[in-house]
Subunit: 404 residues, 2 copies
Amino acid sequence: MTRVERKSEMSISDKIKRSMAQGSWVRKMFEEGASFKRRYGEENVFDLSLGNPVMEPPVEFHQELKRLVENPLPGMHRYMENAGYPETRAAVATQLSLETGIKFTMNDIIMTCGAAGALNVVLKTILNEGDGVIIFAPYFPEYTNYIDNHGGIVRILPTDEQFIPRLDILETTIGAKTRAVLINSPNNPSGSVYSEDFVRQLGELLGKKETQYGTQIFLVSDEAYRKIIYDGRKYPQVWPYHQQSIVVTSHSKDLALPGERIGYIAVNPACRQREELVDGLIYCNRTLGYVNAPALMQHVVSRLQSVTVPVAEYQKKRDFLYAHLNEMGFSVMKPQGAFYMFPKSPLEDDVAFVRELQSWRVLTVPGCGFGAPGYFRISYCVDDRTLEGSLAGFGKAAQKFNLC
Amino acid sequence: MTRVERKSEMSISDKIKRSMAQGSWVRKMFEEGASFKRRYGEENVFDLSLGNPVMEPPVEFHQELKRLVENPLPGMHRYMENAGYPETRAAVATQLSLETGIKFTMNDIIMTCGAAGALNVVLKTILNEGDGVIIFAPYFPEYTNYIDNHGGIVRILPTDEQFIPRLDILETTIGAKTRAVLINSPNNPSGSVYSEDFVRQLGELLGKKETQYGTQIFLVSDEAYRKIIYDGRKYPQVWPYHQQSIVVTSHSKDLALPGERIGYIAVNPACRQREELVDGLIYCNRTLGYVNAPALMQHVVSRLQSVTVPVAEYQKKRDFLYAHLNEMGFSVMKPQGAFYMFPKSPLEDDVAFVRELQSWRVLTVPGCGFGAPGYFRISYCVDDRTLEGSLAGFGKAAQKFNLC
């Protein structure tokens, strides 16, 4: 009888219930943040907890959207092929060819509902139940959900002090069941950008392991922040260094359109069995229920492939915040890209430290949320007022924990 | 050694490879259709195979889109809560309250990437591995993919001659592991609309079985075609007849926006453990990688909740085609909604018959694609020229197979 009563209480699956319970502290923290805002007023709380860029899309976006809306194409809101409009795929391919010197065609590109959609489609396509996917801490927390969605087994490996994956540990970890290595550069949450040399070594290692096990090991590169890169740095491409490489990305950050869910998958033209892979990706884009990337946004981004938000503004914010945190005595790596900073927590317990910051009305995210306890994440894609306003709180924390 | 070589050939998962192979005949048929178009010219092939409405969105849509694009709100392309904009959710709730006489609030609504996204989110949220989901043939073919995506076991039950689910068979099929019954009215592919009486009986049966097994059995109602309904018929709501009911729908058909991926989940306000369920749905909307429904379209549909494409035009097309097919001797049920007809195939082998129709340059889909061999689906959401042009081919088929 007891069992029957328990069963009857089940409105959501056991697994989702467990996952939600595990993540409930994050939610609790956000709720506390929201209650701080209610108590002290929105303008007196400095929210650096979200990766939701404050920048508006570039003027070219507004112009192109207006042009399309004022001159609607017949059928422009209808279904199209699941892979997306041929002209959009071709435009992405042309831009990628330009950026990389490698010849892409529309057949290498699948338009998706953002990078999150892209990554789910890739994992669904390539993973057999129980296949291993390696990620590196600190990592974007949704990765573990996405891998689990499609029956993959997550393996989390460490990075060095510069947040670069430890290749020596990777080498001893890859086995016959390793199906993919998922990297993210510029990295959320650390802001680190991998070097060309690192990418080359990583590619060589994967190639060696493929030969050793007679398998395909995909290098899946999440490049959502590829265009948000500083100090004139050149972005190192994965394409030349590993055949079985797939890039997932979106226009959420480079065109400041995170709510619109527009991104793409690009497959290495040199991929072995490329055609079967691409067919599989298109199939999974459909069968996972994405169906296709939003039609209007596909039309809009077609002509905006070479447009990016003014990255110099993010760099200025980085410089401002980094200089101040550094001066206060925080131990923090200077980010080379994205719009996050990942300082060491002055307290061993990063959740406790984030709570301290909250008490000074500064909202951040504890490192344990990214698989890296002992750190905390600052998102600096906020307006200058918020950034400037947060300094007092950071200063008080620095004083309290004797950082200077 | 052989095994290693086979493994190394694997660019997509075994399961996706199998699924694609199973569905490859559909693809082949579409490719044949495309080659017919190339050979005879687009205008000489009458394509009734796709559920991609030819109608443009209503004028109110264009006006609202223009208004928004000319007066952009600050941050209108940014992330919002995963459930969607509060004002959009509230607008949907208000319209649903109006249509049903039941009080919905924004907390009962989750905006999604179309009905396909909605259904995947629902299934992910409620299904434990191995839970049973019952559907009725003929059914929308993606259902089996969606259920399988989330570890559910598909159980396919028959309908009667009017394509209404057989409740007597349902009664003996539901067991302790049955987690959901998925219905679709107006139905794709049959065009049948369930009666209020049927929905009431179905609700009673599910309630009885919930008590018998001490479980929750969800009635998931796919109402993508709810507004496309003919002859002044009133749409029977599921809400009064089963507490654990969830509606998934989209604006793909009522606003003719299938490419934009904008839809929603509505949860019965009377649902037991409604709050936990809604939290789970929002969580899965995020973790499945949908993140949120496209932002701009959420803004647009907010004010269009009471707007629908001119349904009378679809009804005219139905009347025209039904009258002609009937006269030719086809055995076909007069659809009460959606924009499909599902006649009996004059040949037992529906694939062979669809091939015959192809030879007269009329493209349709065999019933076996919908779990109902011996029938074929005609989609009449096409322009009148295509519909009129198809009659010659249907006439020849009727003659050849002596229908009159």
